[in-house]
């Protein structure tokens, strides 16, 4: 048993940032770090993983892996685990990553720690810290197994200045079309020039205090100046001002940006669940009692309709 494997999340060759975060993090455990990438035409990506710490890159290319599908990916991973015996396999806690991890863990009759915000690996054992009850408590859990399996929340590990040899290994293709049991009919990317919520360095969110599309426009204007993703509270999503995929909170997305700006958001416990672990939090709210101020690093008690335009021009100075 040796090596920490990081499953690469990519779509059409676009790698999710969390992959690099996990590669850098894995380097801390002293064990060999390998990136594992399945797809079509993905061998060209190998040097990318070396830059972030991969000593090895397992590349598996076949038509059956062109897009993520649970059946073929699990069959391939099981064969590789049996052949190479990694100590741990980590996935991103994303739509595909948790799906892959869960089905693989059950197939191998193993435990899996999901949505971890911290990880420590040693031989045959993983200690994972999970935020539970919407971040109101933490649970440290131990997963034993060969391999140790876990999914890591995007944005919690730092991309480090580490590199690895990135030696390419090409395991045999062990999955066929017969392993596929889900037909992906279409994938329609969300059209947005802005970064994705869970990957963005800065998130600017608007709540009911935006009062309508005009207020949301101000939020968007500030977001675009900062190269930020736009998010919202449930109130602004339910009002139809923003798409559901932009909801931040317990029943929305969990974000971990460097800066989170909450404009016209009261800071209900369910909203805090999705953003309170951001590195810096700024709040703009007319109500000095708003609970968002309890978690903010910089709060201004003022009207967002007056603050944001001045803020935009001041930032540009």
């Amino acid at each position: 048993m040796a090596g920490t494997w990081i499953f690469v999340e990519q779509r059409d060759g676009n790698i999710r940032k969390v992959t690099y975060e996990m590669l850098s993090e894995a380097k801390k455990f002293g064990d060999e770090v390998a990136a594992v990438v399945f797809g079509k035409g993905v061998e060209a990506l190998a040097p990318e993983f070396a830059k972030y710490g991969a000593d090895k890159v397992y590349v598996v290319e076949d038509d059956v892996f062109a897009n993520y599908n649970t059946g073929a990916y699990v069959a391939q991973m099981v064969a590789m685990i049996n052949e190479f015996k990694p100590n741990a396999v980590l996935f991103a806690h994303t739509f595909n990553g948790r799906d892959f991890g869960s089905r693989l863990a059950q197939k191998l009759q193993l435990g899996l720690a999901t949505d971890a915000i911290a990880v420590e690996l040693s031989a045959g054992k993983g200690l994972f810290t999970r935020a539970i009850y919407a971040g109101k408590a933490l649970a440290k859990v131990e997963v034993a197994g060969e391999p140790v399996l876990g999914t890591i929340r995007p944005g919690v590990c730092e991309v480090g200045d580490v590199s690895g040899a990135g030696a390419v290994v090409k395991p045999a293709v062990a999955a066929t079309a017969a392993d596929v049991y889900q037909t992906v009919k279409s994938f329609v990317p969300t059209v947005s020039a802005r970064p994705e919520l869970t990957e963005a360095d800065v998130v600017v969110s608007g709540g009911r205090g935006c009062k309508g599309p005009d207020g949301i426009k101000l939020v968007e204007q500030l977001a675009d100046l900062l190269g930020a993703a736009v998010g919202g509270s449930r109130a602004s999503i339910d009002s139809g001002w923003l798409g559901h995929e932009l909801q931040v909170g317990q029943t929305g997305k969990v974000v971990n940006p460097n800066l989170y700006v909450a404009a016209g958001i009261s800071g209900a416990i369910q909203h805090l669940a999705g953003m309170s672990s951001s590195k810096f939090i700024a709040a703009i709210n007319t109500d000095t009692e708003a609970p968002i101020f309890n978690v903010s690093d910089f709060g201004v008690v003022a009207d967002l309709f007056k603050v944001i335009p001045t803020l935009v021009s001041e930032l540009k100075k």
Binding site: H93, T94, Q106, I132, L138, S186, L259, K306, T310
Partner: protein, 250 residues
């Protein structure tokens, strides 16, 4: 067609979490049906209203308290319930084993669930259940069409919307934006009291994940709060963003 819905009893999302003797204190906590599971129940009822589903069975694994989650689903419109008696300390693996065992006995065409439980949820149970039963699965759905022995669902994936088709029987887990769950009517609540709920023992399975310790998140240091004219507030906020956060402008 028989639709089965997995419902978990969870803490109210407003609940204040405290530790007692190193464990999460549950005394006095208001319990609710997991919000995602409520959406799954509503989805099942809508399938019945469309004539796709004939019977809706709800299954919960847990202590006797989980009966409330079953009754809520029955009051919304599900037909009958199964309570799988299991220690609430069962992990995702043990719960999936117990649920799959109970589900197998029901032989449903569609198994609905929430994609994550709002308490210590792991986003694992539905997918694990599917693996045990040898069913395909689709997670985080926002719509479903059932026809010709197949289910076609839209899912909220990272960075876009994915449409996936699977053959039935299948396990399908919900996203909250799928629908708006109905409130149980007075009539529904009365009717629920008479609907049958079977109690079965959980299939034996040992936990795979061990909880080493619970703790509270570190308290956040108090921040700066400014009450002044909006222009002054904006100027100071801009300075903080530039000097402390060191934002980069596009």
């Amino acid at each position: 067609m028989k639709v089965l819905v997995c419902v978990k009893q969870t803490f109210d999302t407003e609940a204040k979490i405290e530790l007692k003797d190193g464990k999460i204190a549950d005394a006095g906590i208001n319990l609710i049906i997991n919000p995602y599971d409520e959406v799954a129940v509503e989805g099942a009822i809508q399938l019945k209203e469309k004539g796709v589903a004939k019977e809706i069975v709800v299954v919960a694994a847990g202590s006797d308290k989980a009966m409330d989650a079953i009754r809520t689903a029955l009051a919304m419109g599900a037909d009958r319930g199964v309570l799988v008696q299991q220690d609430t300390a069962a992990d995702e693996f043990a719960r999936a084993v117990a649920l799959a065992d109970a589900i197998k006995a029901e032989n449903p065409d569609i198994v609905l669930a929430g994609h994550v439980a709002a308490d210590d949820g792991s986003s694992q149970v539905p997918t694990r259940v599917a693996e045990i039963l040898g069913f395909p699965h689709i997670n985080v759905i926002t719509s479903i069409e059932v026809a010709g022995g197949k289910a076609t669902c839209s899912s909220e994936a990272d960075g876009g919307t994915q449409v996936t088709e699977v053959s039935l029987p299948a396990v399908i887990s919900s996203q909250v934006s799928w629908n708006e769950p109905r409130y149980p009517s007075m009539k529904g609540i009365m009717a629920a009291k008479k609907k049958p709920v079977a109690t079965v023992a959980a299939a034996a399975a040992d936990n795979k994940v061990k909880i080493v310790e619970f703790s509270m998140p570190p308290a956040k240091a108090a921040g700066i709060k400014i009450e002044d004219e909006p222009e002054v507030c904006a100027t100071k906020l801009a300075e903080w963003m530039k000097n402390t956060v060191k934002v980069e402008l596009k």
